[in-house]
Protein backbone atom coordinates (compact mmCIF):
# COMPACT_ATOMS: atom_id res chain seq x y z
CA UNK A 1 0.00 0.00 0.00
CA UNK A 2 1.77 3.16 -1.19
CA UNK A 3 5.49 3.75 -1.01
CA UNK A 4 5.74 5.34 2.40
CA UNK A 5 8.38 4.72 4.99
CA UNK A 6 5.99 3.87 7.79
CA UNK A 7 4.51 0.47 8.31
CA UNK A 8 0.91 -0.05 9.32
CA UNK A 9 1.95 -2.39 12.08
CA UNK A 10 5.11 -4.22 13.01
CA UNK A 11 3.51 -7.41 11.77
CA UNK A 12 0.36 -7.09 9.73
CA UNK A 13 -2.62 -8.41 11.64
CA UNK A 14 -4.65 -11.28 10.36
CA UNK A 15 -8.38 -10.89 9.92
CA UNK A 16 -8.97 -12.98 13.06
CA UNK A 17 -6.68 -10.75 15.09
CA UNK A 18 -8.44 -7.66 13.75
CA UNK A 19 -11.77 -9.16 14.78
CA UNK A 20 -10.43 -9.62 18.29
CA UNK A 21 -9.26 -6.03 18.33
CA UNK A 22 -12.67 -4.83 17.13
CA UNK A 23 -14.29 -6.76 19.98
CA UNK A 24 -11.87 -5.18 22.44
CA UNK A 25 -12.63 -1.74 20.98
CA UNK A 26 -16.36 -2.31 21.47
CA UNK A 27 -15.83 -3.53 25.02
CA UNK A 28 -13.77 -0.45 25.83
CA UNK A 29 -16.45 1.76 24.29
CA UNK A 30 -19.10 0.17 26.47
CA UNK A 31 -16.90 0.48 29.53
CA UNK A 32 -16.51 4.22 28.90
CA UNK A 33 -20.23 4.54 28.22
CA UNK A 34 -20.88 2.80 31.52
CA UNK A 35 -18.56 4.94 33.62
CA UNK A 36 -19.08 8.37 32.09
CA UNK A 37 -22.27 9.99 33.27
CA UNK A 38 -22.90 12.13 30.19
CA UNK A 39 -24.05 10.95 26.78
CA UNK A 40 -21.75 8.99 24.50
CA UNK A 41 -22.63 8.55 20.81
CA UNK A 42 -22.54 4.85 21.35
CA UNK A 43 -24.76 3.87 18.40
CA UNK A 44 -22.53 5.44 15.77
CA UNK A 45 -19.39 4.40 17.65
CA UNK A 46 -20.41 0.76 17.54
CA UNK A 47 -21.41 0.94 13.87
CA UNK A 48 -17.98 2.24 12.92
CA UNK A 49 -15.85 0.16 15.31
CA UNK A 50 -14.85 -2.37 12.64
CA UNK A 51 -13.89 0.42 10.22
CA UNK A 52 -11.75 2.14 12.87
CA UNK A 53 -10.09 -1.16 13.69
CA UNK A 54 -9.34 -1.88 10.03
CA UNK A 55 -7.93 1.62 9.64
CA UNK A 56 -5.82 1.99 12.77
CA UNK A 57 -4.60 -1.60 12.93
CA UNK A 58 -4.26 -2.37 9.26
CA UNK A 59 -4.81 0.28 6.62
CA UNK A 60 -3.35 3.50 7.97
CA UNK A 61 0.37 3.99 7.66
CA UNK A 62 0.94 5.88 10.86
CA UNK A 63 3.48 5.77 13.64
CA UNK A 64 2.26 6.80 17.10
CA UNK A 65 5.82 7.67 18.11
CA UNK A 66 6.27 10.00 15.14
CA UNK A 67 2.94 11.72 14.69
CA UNK A 68 4.21 14.51 12.45
CA UNK A 69 6.05 12.35 9.95
CA UNK A 70 5.16 13.88 6.56
CA UNK A 71 4.93 10.43 4.98
CA UNK A 72 2.13 9.30 7.29
CA UNK A 73 -1.34 8.64 5.99
CA UNK A 74 -3.82 11.26 7.13
CA UNK A 75 -7.16 10.42 8.70
CA UNK A 76 -9.89 13.03 9.09
CA UNK A 77 -12.85 12.07 11.22
CA UNK A 78 -15.75 13.75 9.49
CA UNK A 79 -18.40 12.14 11.70
CA UNK A 80 -16.91 13.92 14.67
CA UNK A 81 -19.42 12.48 17.12
CA UNK A 82 -17.56 9.16 16.77
CA UNK A 83 -14.55 10.79 18.42
CA UNK A 84 -14.61 8.35 21.34
CA UNK A 85 -14.31 5.40 18.99
CA UNK A 86 -11.37 7.12 17.28
CA UNK A 87 -9.66 7.99 20.58
CA UNK A 88 -9.90 4.40 21.77
CA UNK A 89 -8.80 2.95 18.43
CA UNK A 90 -5.83 5.32 18.52
CA UNK A 91 -5.07 4.37 22.11
CA UNK A 92 -5.12 0.69 21.16
CA UNK A 93 -2.68 1.56 18.36
CA UNK A 94 -0.37 3.23 20.89
CA UNK A 95 -1.07 6.94 20.42
CA UNK A 96 -2.11 7.48 24.00
CA UNK A 97 -3.42 5.49 26.94
CA UNK A 98 -6.94 4.18 27.20
CA UNK A 99 -6.93 4.91 30.93
CA UNK A 100 -6.23 8.56 30.17
CA UNK A 101 -9.33 8.67 28.01
CA UNK A 102 -11.69 6.86 30.34
CA UNK A 103 -10.44 8.69 33.44
CA UNK A 104 -10.82 12.20 32.04
CA UNK A 105 -13.36 12.02 29.19
CA UNK A 106 -15.52 15.12 29.00
CA UNK A 107 -14.00 16.65 32.11
CA UNK A 108 -12.60 20.14 32.45
CA UNK A 109 -9.18 20.41 30.74
CA UNK A 110 -9.35 16.90 29.30
CA UNK A 111 -8.10 16.53 25.72
CA UNK A 112 -10.88 14.00 25.15
CA UNK A 113 -14.36 15.29 24.50
CA UNK A 114 -17.40 14.70 22.38
CA UNK A 115 -15.80 16.03 19.18
CA UNK A 116 -12.09 15.93 18.35
CA UNK A 117 -9.85 18.98 18.66
CA UNK A 118 -6.41 18.88 17.11
CA UNK A 119 -5.18 21.78 19.22
CA UNK A 120 -6.01 19.93 22.42
CA UNK A 121 -5.02 16.48 21.18
CA UNK A 122 -2.04 16.32 18.83
CA UNK A 123 -2.17 13.14 16.80
CA UNK A 124 -5.69 13.94 15.71
CA UNK A 125 -5.35 15.38 12.21
CA UNK A 126 -8.21 17.91 12.20
CA UNK A 127 -10.69 19.59 14.51
CA UNK A 128 -14.10 18.42 13.45
CA UNK A 129 -17.60 17.91 14.74
CA UNK A 130 -19.89 19.96 12.60
CA UNK A 131 -21.07 17.56 9.93
CA UNK A 132 -20.10 17.73 6.29
CA UNK A 133 -16.71 19.32 6.94
CA UNK A 134 -14.37 16.33 6.78
CA UNK A 135 -14.42 15.65 3.07
CA UNK A 136 -13.41 19.21 2.05
CA UNK A 137 -10.60 19.09 4.63
CA UNK A 138 -9.45 15.73 3.25
CA UNK A 139 -9.58 17.09 -0.30
CA UNK A 140 -7.27 19.92 0.78
CA UNK A 141 -4.86 17.47 2.39
CA UNK A 142 -4.93 15.21 -0.68
CA UNK A 143 -4.25 18.20 -2.96
CA UNK A 144 -1.34 19.14 -0.74
CA UNK A 145 0.11 15.62 -0.92
CA UNK A 146 -0.20 15.73 -4.70
CA UNK A 147 1.45 19.13 -4.82
CA UNK A 148 4.41 17.89 -2.83
CA UNK A 149 4.72 14.73 -4.87
CA UNK A 150 4.05 12.60 -1.80
CA UNK A 151 2.52 9.18 -2.01
CA UNK A 152 0.60 8.83 1.24
CA UNK A 153 -3.16 8.57 1.31
CA UNK A 154 -5.75 10.78 2.92
CA UNK A 155 -8.68 8.97 4.50
CA UNK A 156 -11.88 10.32 5.91
CA UNK A 157 -14.83 8.67 7.60
CA UNK A 158 -18.29 10.09 7.11
CA UNK A 159 -21.62 9.01 8.41
CA UNK A 160 -24.19 8.41 5.69
CA UNK A 161 -26.53 10.91 7.36
CA UNK A 162 -24.02 13.73 7.11
CA UNK A 163 -23.84 13.33 3.36
CA UNK A 164 -27.06 15.31 3.38
CA UNK A 165 -24.82 18.36 3.77
CA UNK A 166 -24.19 20.23 0.52
CA UNK A 167 -20.52 20.72 1.33
CA UNK A 168 -20.01 16.95 0.95
CA UNK A 169 -21.12 17.04 -2.66
CA UNK A 170 -19.18 20.21 -3.34
CA UNK A 171 -16.08 18.40 -2.14
CA UNK A 172 -17.01 15.23 -4.04
CA UNK A 173 -16.97 17.29 -7.23
CA UNK A 174 -13.68 18.93 -6.30
CA UNK A 175 -12.07 15.54 -5.58
CA UNK A 176 -13.11 14.17 -8.95
CA UNK A 177 -12.22 17.38 -10.80
CA UNK A 178 -8.74 17.31 -9.31
CA UNK A 179 -8.30 13.57 -9.93
CA UNK A 180 -7.48 12.77 -6.31
CA UNK A 181 -6.71 9.06 -6.47
CA UNK A 182 -4.91 9.45 -3.13
CA UNK A 183 -8.21 10.20 -1.37
CA UNK A 184 -10.32 7.51 0.30
CA UNK A 185 -13.68 8.23 1.89
CA UNK A 186 -15.27 5.62 4.11
CA UNK A 187 -18.98 5.94 4.67
CA UNK A 188 -20.51 4.35 7.72
CA UNK A 189 -23.76 3.42 6.00
CA UNK A 190 -25.83 2.61 9.08
CA UNK A 191 -29.00 3.98 7.53
CA UNK A 192 -29.98 5.76 10.68
CA UNK A 193 -30.15 9.44 11.55
CA UNK A 194 -30.62 10.80 15.04
CA UNK A 195 -34.40 10.78 14.93
CA UNK A 196 -35.32 8.56 12.00
CA UNK A 197 -34.17 5.82 9.69
CA UNK A 198 -32.75 7.50 6.67
CA UNK A 199 -34.89 6.19 3.85
CA UNK A 200 -37.95 7.27 5.84
CA UNK A 201 -37.43 11.00 5.61
CA UNK A 202 -34.38 11.44 3.45
CA UNK A 203 -33.90 9.13 0.51
CA UNK A 204 -30.23 8.49 -0.13
CA UNK A 205 -30.61 5.56 -2.50
CA UNK A 206 -29.45 4.83 -5.10
CA UNK A 207 -26.49 5.73 -2.94
CA UNK A 208 -23.53 4.00 -4.65
CA UNK A 209 -24.81 5.25 -8.00
CA UNK A 210 -24.72 8.82 -6.73
CA UNK A 211 -21.05 8.55 -5.83
CA UNK A 212 -20.29 6.82 -9.12
CA UNK A 213 -22.11 9.60 -10.96
CA UNK A 214 -19.82 12.09 -9.20
CA UNK A 215 -16.85 10.29 -10.74
CA UNK A 216 -15.74 8.22 -7.75
CA UNK A 217 -14.42 4.69 -7.64
CA UNK A 218 -17.11 2.98 -5.55
CA UNK A 219 -16.47 -0.03 -3.32
CA UNK A 220 -19.55 -1.39 -1.60
CA UNK A 221 -19.02 -3.81 1.28
CA UNK A 222 -20.41 -5.18 4.52
CA UNK A 223 -18.83 -2.84 7.06
CA UNK A 224 -18.84 -5.50 9.75
CA UNK A 225 -17.03 -8.09 7.62
CA UNK A 226 -13.39 -7.62 8.59
CA UNK A 227 -12.22 -9.68 5.64
CA UNK A 228 -14.12 -7.37 3.30
CA UNK A 229 -12.68 -4.26 4.99
CA UNK A 230 -9.16 -5.65 4.65
CA UNK A 231 -9.77 -6.58 1.03
CA UNK A 232 -11.10 -3.08 0.30
CA UNK A 233 -7.97 -1.54 1.81
CA UNK A 234 -5.71 -3.98 -0.02
CA UNK A 235 -7.49 -3.23 -3.26
CA UNK A 236 -7.16 0.55 -3.20
CA UNK A 237 -5.94 1.97 -6.49
CA UNK A 238 -2.45 3.46 -6.66
CA UNK A 239 -2.15 6.85 -5.00
CA UNK A 240 -1.16 8.42 -8.31
CA UNK A 241 -4.32 7.18 -9.99
CA UNK A 242 -6.99 9.70 -10.87
CA UNK A 243 -10.20 8.61 -9.19
CA UNK A 244 -11.00 9.13 -5.53
CA UNK A 245 -12.35 6.03 -3.82
CA UNK A 246 -15.41 5.78 -1.64
CA UNK A 247 -15.88 2.67 0.47
CA UNK A 248 -19.54 2.44 1.33
CA UNK A 249 -19.60 0.18 4.36
CA UNK A 250 -23.04 -1.20 5.20
CA UNK A 251 -23.31 -1.19 8.97
CA UNK A 252 -25.76 -1.44 11.83
CA UNK A 253 -26.03 1.35 14.35
CA UNK A 254 -25.37 -0.08 17.79
CA UNK A 255 -23.73 -3.16 16.24
CA UNK A 256 -22.87 -5.92 18.71
CA UNK A 257 -25.29 -5.01 21.49
CA UNK A 258 -28.72 -6.38 20.66
CA UNK A 259 -30.78 -3.86 22.58
CA UNK A 260 -28.91 -0.99 20.93
CA UNK A 261 -29.00 -2.29 17.38
CA UNK A 262 -31.19 -0.25 15.03
CA UNK A 263 -32.67 1.47 18.05
CA UNK A 264 -33.21 5.23 17.80
CA UNK A 265 -32.95 5.50 21.58
CA UNK A 266 -29.27 4.57 21.39
CA UNK A 267 -28.02 7.29 19.05
CA UNK A 268 -26.38 8.61 22.17
CA UNK A 269 -26.70 7.67 25.77
CA UNK A 270 -25.11 6.51 28.94
CA UNK A 271 -25.09 3.07 30.54
CA UNK A 272 -25.42 2.65 34.28
CA UNK A 273 -23.57 -0.19 36.03
CA UNK A 274 -26.43 -2.65 35.54
CA UNK A 275 -26.91 -1.78 31.89
CA UNK A 276 -23.18 -1.97 31.34
CA UNK A 277 -23.24 -5.56 32.55
CA UNK A 278 -26.20 -6.29 30.29
CA UNK A 279 -24.48 -4.64 27.32
CA UNK A 280 -21.25 -6.56 27.91
CA UNK A 281 -23.18 -9.82 28.07
CA UNK A 282 -24.94 -8.92 24.81
CA UNK A 283 -21.60 -8.11 23.20
CA UNK A 284 -20.17 -11.47 24.31
CA UNK A 285 -23.25 -13.28 23.05
CA UNK A 286 -23.07 -11.55 19.70
CA UNK A 287 -19.43 -12.47 19.34
CA UNK A 288 -20.11 -16.13 20.12
CA UNK A 289 -22.97 -16.17 17.66
CA UNK A 290 -20.81 -14.72 14.90
CA UNK A 291 -17.87 -17.01 15.53
CA UNK A 292 -20.04 -20.11 15.16
Amino acid sequence: MGQVTLSAAEDPHTVAELEDLAFELRAKLLHLCGTYEGAVHIGGDLSSADIFTALYHYGLHVDPSDISNPARDRFVLSKGHAAVCMYIAMAMRGFFSYDGIVDTYGQLDSAYGMHPCKVQLPGVEASTGSLGHGLPLAVGMALSARGRGESHRVFTLMGDGETGEGSVWEAAMAANSNKLGNLVAFIDRNRQLMTSFDEERVVLEPYPDKWAAFGWNVVHIDGHDMGALVAALDGLPATDSDKPTVIIAETVKGKGVDFMERNLAWHAGSLGAADLERAMAALEASREKESV
Binding site: S127, P136, M173
Partner: protein
Protein backbone atom coordinates in the same frame (compact mmCIF):
# COMPACT_ATOMS: atom_id res chain seq x y z
CA UNK B 1 3.85 48.04 -11.87
CA UNK B 2 1.77 49.43 -8.98
CA UNK B 3 4.68 51.60 -7.78
CA UNK B 4 4.18 53.89 -10.75
CA UNK B 5 0.77 55.00 -9.51
CA UNK B 6 0.54 58.15 -7.46
CA UNK B 7 -1.95 59.87 -5.21
CA UNK B 8 -5.40 60.28 -6.68
CA UNK B 9 -4.94 57.93 -9.60
CA UNK B 10 -7.27 55.02 -10.07
CA UNK B 11 -6.07 51.48 -9.81
CA UNK B 12 -7.70 48.08 -9.78
CA UNK B 13 -7.30 46.53 -6.35
CA UNK B 14 -8.22 43.20 -7.92
CA UNK B 15 -5.29 43.32 -10.28
CA UNK B 16 -3.08 44.11 -7.29
CA UNK B 17 -4.29 40.87 -5.69
CA UNK B 18 -3.39 38.99 -8.86
CA UNK B 19 0.06 40.50 -9.38
CA UNK B 20 0.95 40.28 -5.68
CA UNK B 21 -0.01 36.62 -5.43
CA UNK B 22 1.82 35.79 -8.65
CA UNK B 23 4.92 37.50 -7.24
CA UNK B 24 4.62 35.84 -3.82
CA UNK B 25 4.09 32.43 -5.39
CA UNK B 26 7.68 32.46 -6.53
CA UNK B 27 9.25 32.80 -3.11
CA UNK B 28 6.54 30.97 -1.18
CA UNK B 29 6.41 27.51 -2.67
CA UNK B 30 3.62 26.57 -0.30
CA UNK B 31 1.33 29.40 -1.39
CA UNK B 32 -1.92 28.12 -2.88
CA UNK B 33 -4.72 30.17 -4.39
CA UNK B 34 -8.30 28.95 -4.33
CA UNK B 35 -11.41 30.55 -5.72
CA UNK B 36 -15.09 29.76 -6.12
CA UNK B 37 -15.29 30.83 -9.77
CA UNK B 38 -14.03 34.39 -9.25
CA UNK B 39 -10.62 33.80 -10.70
CA UNK B 40 -10.37 36.27 -13.57
CA UNK B 41 -7.76 38.40 -11.86
CA UNK B 42 -5.82 35.38 -10.68
CA UNK B 43 -4.83 34.18 -14.14
CA UNK B 44 -1.21 35.23 -13.69
CA UNK B 45 -0.91 32.99 -10.64
CA UNK B 46 -2.90 30.24 -12.33
CA UNK B 47 -0.69 30.27 -15.40
CA UNK B 48 2.57 30.36 -13.43
CA UNK B 49 1.57 27.82 -10.79
CA UNK B 50 -1.25 25.70 -12.18
CA UNK B 51 -0.58 22.98 -9.61
CA UNK B 52 -1.23 25.38 -6.75
CA UNK B 53 -4.36 26.99 -8.18
CA UNK B 54 -7.76 25.49 -7.46
CA UNK B 55 -11.03 26.79 -8.86
CA UNK B 56 -13.74 24.75 -7.17
CA UNK B 57 -16.56 26.35 -9.11
CA UNK B 58 -19.62 27.59 -7.23
CA UNK B 59 -18.82 25.93 -3.93
CA UNK B 60 -17.74 28.44 -1.28
CA UNK B 61 -18.08 26.02 1.63
CA UNK B 62 -15.85 23.40 0.07
CA UNK B 63 -13.47 26.14 -1.06
CA UNK B 64 -12.85 27.24 2.52
CA UNK B 65 -12.75 23.66 3.83
CA UNK B 66 -10.24 22.63 1.17
CA UNK B 67 -8.13 25.67 2.03
CA UNK B 68 -8.15 24.55 5.67
CA UNK B 69 -7.06 21.06 4.63
CA UNK B 70 -4.16 22.57 2.69
CA UNK B 71 -3.22 24.71 5.68
CA UNK B 72 -3.25 21.69 8.00
CA UNK B 73 -0.53 20.29 5.77
CA UNK B 74 1.71 23.34 6.13
CA UNK B 75 0.56 25.39 3.17
CA UNK B 76 -0.47 29.05 2.97
CA UNK B 77 -3.83 29.09 1.20
CA UNK B 78 -5.44 32.24 -0.12
CA UNK B 79 -9.16 32.10 -0.84
CA UNK B 80 -10.24 34.83 -3.20
CA UNK B 81 -13.82 35.58 -4.11
CA UNK B 82 -16.85 37.72 -3.41
CA UNK B 83 -17.18 38.51 0.27
CA UNK B 84 -20.96 38.28 0.63
CA UNK B 85 -20.63 34.55 -0.04
CA UNK B 86 -17.29 33.82 1.61
CA UNK B 87 -18.36 35.61 4.78
CA UNK B 88 -21.87 34.18 5.06
CA UNK B 89 -22.40 31.06 3.02
CA UNK B 90 -19.07 29.66 4.20
CA UNK B 91 -19.18 31.31 7.62
CA UNK B 92 -19.24 28.04 9.51
CA UNK B 93 -16.31 26.68 7.54
CA UNK B 94 -14.41 29.89 8.26
CA UNK B 95 -15.23 29.54 11.93
CA UNK B 96 -14.88 25.79 12.50
CA UNK B 97 -12.35 24.72 9.86
CA UNK B 98 -10.10 27.78 9.83
CA UNK B 99 -10.44 29.83 13.02
CA UNK B 100 -10.92 27.00 15.53
CA UNK B 101 -7.58 25.34 14.66
CA UNK B 102 -6.09 28.82 13.96
CA UNK B 103 -4.87 28.03 10.46
CA UNK B 104 -3.07 30.56 8.23
CA UNK B 105 -5.82 30.87 5.64
CA UNK B 106 -6.16 34.28 3.97
CA UNK B 107 -9.61 35.29 2.80
CA UNK B 108 -9.35 38.12 0.31
CA UNK B 109 -12.42 39.40 -1.41
CA UNK B 110 -14.33 42.08 -3.14
CA UNK B 111 -17.77 43.65 -2.78
CA UNK B 112 -17.45 44.88 0.78
CA UNK B 113 -20.21 47.43 1.39
CA UNK B 114 -22.86 48.84 -0.93
CA UNK B 115 -20.80 48.45 -4.08
CA UNK B 116 -21.32 46.97 -7.49
CA UNK B 117 -25.04 47.69 -7.76
CA UNK B 118 -25.80 44.01 -7.32
CA UNK B 119 -28.60 44.45 -4.85
CA UNK B 120 -28.70 43.12 -1.33
CA UNK B 121 -27.78 39.52 -2.12
CA UNK B 122 -24.48 40.86 -3.42
CA UNK B 123 -23.57 43.43 -0.77
CA UNK B 124 -21.36 42.36 2.11
CA UNK B 125 -22.65 44.67 4.82
CA UNK B 126 -22.67 42.34 7.83
CA UNK B 127 -19.32 40.73 7.08
CA UNK B 128 -17.15 42.73 9.45
CA UNK B 129 -19.49 42.10 12.38
CA UNK B 130 -19.39 38.37 11.61
CA UNK B 131 -15.64 38.17 11.09
CA UNK B 132 -14.83 40.29 14.13
CA UNK B 133 -16.86 37.86 16.22
CA UNK B 134 -14.58 34.95 15.29
CA UNK B 135 -11.81 34.05 17.70
CA UNK B 136 -8.32 34.07 16.09
CA UNK B 137 -9.47 36.04 13.04
CA UNK B 138 -7.63 39.21 12.03
CA UNK B 139 -9.99 41.55 10.18
CA UNK B 140 -8.97 44.23 7.71
CA UNK B 141 -10.76 46.52 5.27
CA UNK B 142 -8.61 48.25 2.71
CA UNK B 143 -9.39 51.42 0.76
CA UNK B 144 -6.06 52.13 -0.87
CA UNK B 145 -5.33 49.74 -3.74
CA UNK B 146 -1.57 49.88 -3.22
CA UNK B 147 -2.04 48.83 0.40
CA UNK B 148 -3.66 45.62 -0.75
CA UNK B 149 -0.34 44.28 -1.95
CA UNK B 150 1.42 45.36 1.22
CA UNK B 151 -1.16 43.73 3.48
CA UNK B 152 -1.06 40.48 1.51
CA UNK B 153 2.75 40.48 1.77
CA UNK B 154 2.62 41.10 5.54
CA UNK B 155 0.01 38.40 6.00
CA UNK B 156 2.36 35.73 4.62
CA UNK B 157 4.13 35.53 7.98
CA UNK B 158 0.97 35.42 10.09
CA UNK B 159 0.24 32.25 12.01
CA UNK B 160 -3.53 32.53 12.02
CA UNK B 161 -6.26 33.55 9.56
CA UNK B 162 -6.87 36.97 8.09
CA UNK B 163 -9.84 38.53 6.34
CA UNK B 164 -9.02 41.21 3.76
CA UNK B 165 -11.99 43.24 2.58
CA UNK B 166 -11.96 45.37 -0.53
CA UNK B 167 -14.71 47.36 -2.18
CA UNK B 168 -15.68 46.43 -5.70
CA UNK B 169 -11.99 46.39 -6.46
CA UNK B 170 -12.09 47.62 -10.02
CA UNK B 171 -11.36 51.35 -9.82
CA UNK B 172 -9.97 52.51 -6.51
CA UNK B 173 -8.36 55.85 -5.76
CA UNK B 174 -4.75 55.70 -4.61
CA UNK B 175 -4.87 57.41 -1.19
CA UNK B 176 -1.28 57.24 -0.07
CA UNK B 177 2.01 57.70 -1.84
CA UNK B 178 4.12 54.60 -1.43
CA UNK B 179 6.22 55.07 1.70
CA UNK B 180 4.13 57.99 2.98
CA UNK B 181 2.81 56.04 5.96
CA UNK B 182 3.97 53.09 7.94
CA UNK B 183 1.49 50.38 7.09
CA UNK B 184 1.30 47.65 9.68
CA UNK B 185 -1.52 45.22 10.37
CA UNK B 186 -3.02 46.20 13.72
CA UNK B 187 -1.99 49.85 13.52
CA UNK B 188 -4.28 52.58 12.20
CA UNK B 189 -3.04 55.22 9.78
CA UNK B 190 -3.45 58.93 10.44
CA UNK B 191 -4.41 59.73 6.89
CA UNK B 192 -4.81 63.43 7.71
CA UNK B 193 -3.81 65.31 10.83
CA UNK B 194 -6.31 67.44 12.72
CA UNK B 195 -7.22 68.59 16.23
CA UNK B 196 -10.94 69.44 16.30
CA UNK B 197 -12.37 65.96 15.74
CA UNK B 198 -11.42 62.51 14.44
CA UNK B 199 -13.20 60.68 11.67
CA UNK B 200 -12.43 56.97 12.02
CA UNK B 201 -13.08 55.10 8.81
CA UNK B 202 -12.00 52.18 6.65
CA UNK B 203 -12.24 50.81 3.14
CA UNK B 204 -13.78 52.60 0.26
CA UNK B 205 -15.09 55.56 2.29
CA UNK B 206 -11.66 56.72 3.51
CA UNK B 207 -11.54 58.83 0.36
CA UNK B 208 -14.90 60.37 1.28
CA UNK B 209 -13.66 61.15 4.80
CA UNK B 210 -10.59 62.87 3.34
CA UNK B 211 -12.81 64.89 1.02
CA UNK B 212 -14.96 65.91 3.99
CA UNK B 213 -11.91 66.95 6.03
CA UNK B 214 -10.64 68.99 3.10
CA UNK B 215 -13.97 70.78 2.74
CA UNK B 216 -14.16 71.44 6.48
CA UNK B 217 -10.66 72.88 6.37
CA UNK B 218 -12.02 75.58 4.06
CA UNK B 219 -14.28 76.60 6.97
CA UNK B 220 -11.36 76.68 9.36
CA UNK B 221 -11.91 73.24 10.95
CA UNK B 222 -9.04 70.90 11.60
CA UNK B 223 -10.30 67.35 11.22
CA UNK B 224 -8.20 64.25 11.68
CA UNK B 225 -8.91 61.21 9.50
CA UNK B 226 -7.86 57.82 10.76
CA UNK B 227 -7.86 54.92 8.33
CA UNK B 228 -8.57 52.13 10.81
CA UNK B 229 -7.98 49.45 8.23
CA UNK B 230 -7.46 46.77 10.88
CA UNK B 231 -10.71 46.32 12.78
CA UNK B 232 -9.37 43.39 14.75
CA UNK B 233 -7.11 43.62 16.63
CA UNK B 234 -7.97 47.28 16.79
CA UNK B 235 -5.40 50.00 17.51
CA UNK B 236 -6.58 50.90 21.01
CA UNK B 237 -3.70 53.25 21.69
CA UNK B 238 -4.52 55.32 18.65
CA UNK B 239 -8.18 55.57 19.69
CA UNK B 240 -7.11 56.77 23.15
CA UNK B 241 -4.68 59.24 21.62
CA UNK B 242 -7.29 60.62 19.25
CA UNK B 243 -9.71 61.13 22.14
CA UNK B 244 -7.07 63.17 23.91
CA UNK B 245 -5.80 65.10 20.93
CA UNK B 246 -9.08 65.85 19.13
CA UNK B 247 -11.25 66.93 22.04
CA UNK B 248 -13.01 63.58 22.46
CA UNK B 249 -15.02 64.26 19.30
CA UNK B 250 -15.46 61.14 17.19
CA UNK B 251 -17.23 60.43 13.94
CA UNK B 252 -17.17 56.85 12.68
CA UNK B 253 -17.82 56.46 8.97
CA UNK B 254 -18.06 53.06 7.35
CA UNK B 255 -19.56 51.19 4.43
CA UNK B 256 -21.07 48.50 6.68
CA UNK B 257 -24.01 48.27 9.04
CA UNK B 258 -23.73 51.14 11.48
CA UNK B 259 -23.88 48.65 14.35
CA UNK B 260 -21.47 45.71 14.50
CA UNK B 261 -18.62 47.18 12.49
CA UNK B 262 -15.92 49.75 13.24
CA UNK B 263 -18.24 52.01 15.24
CA UNK B 264 -19.00 49.15 17.58
CA UNK B 265 -15.32 48.21 17.83
CA UNK B 266 -14.40 51.80 18.74
CA UNK B 267 -17.29 52.06 21.19
CA UNK B 268 -16.08 48.88 22.91
CA UNK B 269 -12.61 50.35 23.37
CA UNK B 270 -14.05 53.61 24.66
CA UNK B 271 -16.27 51.80 27.16
CA UNK B 272 -13.67 49.23 28.24
CA UNK B 273 -10.94 51.79 28.79
CA UNK B 274 -13.18 54.43 30.34
CA UNK B 275 -12.21 56.98 27.70
CA UNK B 276 -14.10 60.24 28.05
CA UNK B 277 -15.73 61.43 24.85
CA UNK B 278 -17.40 64.73 24.11
CA UNK B 279 -19.38 63.50 21.12
CA UNK B 280 -19.74 60.25 19.16
CA UNK B 281 -21.60 59.84 15.88
CA UNK B 282 -21.77 56.74 13.74
CA UNK B 283 -22.40 56.86 10.01
CA UNK B 284 -23.15 53.60 8.23
CA UNK B 285 -25.89 51.49 6.78
CA UNK B 286 -29.10 51.47 8.81
CA UNK B 287 -31.09 48.25 9.25
CA UNK B 288 -32.35 48.17 5.68
CA UNK B 289 -31.76 46.11 2.57
CA UNK B 290 -30.36 48.86 0.48
CA UNK B 291 -31.65 48.38 -3.06
CA UNK B 292 -30.01 49.47 -6.27
CA UNK B 293 -28.02 52.52 -7.24
CA UNK B 294 -24.39 53.46 -7.58
CA UNK B 295 -22.17 53.61 -4.52
CA UNK B 296 -22.42 57.35 -4.01
CA UNK B 297 -26.17 57.46 -4.50
CA UNK B 298 -26.67 54.65 -2.02
CA UNK B 299 -24.46 56.30 0.59
CA UNK B 300 -26.42 59.53 0.19
CA UNK B 301 -29.76 57.75 0.36
CA UNK B 302 -28.84 55.82 3.48
CA UNK B 303 -27.35 58.73 5.36
CA UNK B 304 -23.61 58.23 5.23
CA UNK B 305 -22.59 60.09 2.08
CA UNK B 306 -20.40 63.17 1.88
CA UNK B 307 -23.14 65.59 2.95
CA UNK B 308 -24.00 63.45 5.98
CA UNK B 309 -20.33 63.16 6.89
CA UNK B 310 -19.92 66.93 6.75
CA UNK B 311 -23.04 67.49 8.83
CA UNK B 312 -22.09 64.92 11.47
CA UNK B 313 -18.56 66.25 11.77
CA UNK B 314 -19.84 69.82 12.13
CA UNK B 315 -22.21 68.62 14.86
CA UNK B 316 -19.47 66.94 16.88
CA UNK B 317 -17.17 69.93 16.47
CA UNK B 318 -19.96 72.22 17.73
CA UNK B 319 -20.17 70.10 20.88
CA UNK B 320 -18.48 71.94 23.71
Amino acid sequence: MPETFTFGEMLSARSVIGTTLAELGETNENLWVLTPDIGATLVEFRDKYPDRFVDVGLAEQACVGIAAGLAYDGNIPVVSGMLPFLSMRALEQVRSDVCYPNLPVKIIGTHGGLVGNGGSTHYAVEDLALMCALTNMTVTSIGDPLMVGEIIRQSMDMQGPIYIRLAVGKKDKVLYEPGQHEIRIGKGIIAREGTDATIFTHGTVVAQALDAAEELAQDGHSVRVVDMFTLKPIDEELIARCAEETGGRFVILEDHLAYGGLASRVADVVADRGIHLTAFERLGIPQVYAGFGDDEELRDKHGYGLAATLAATRRVIAHA
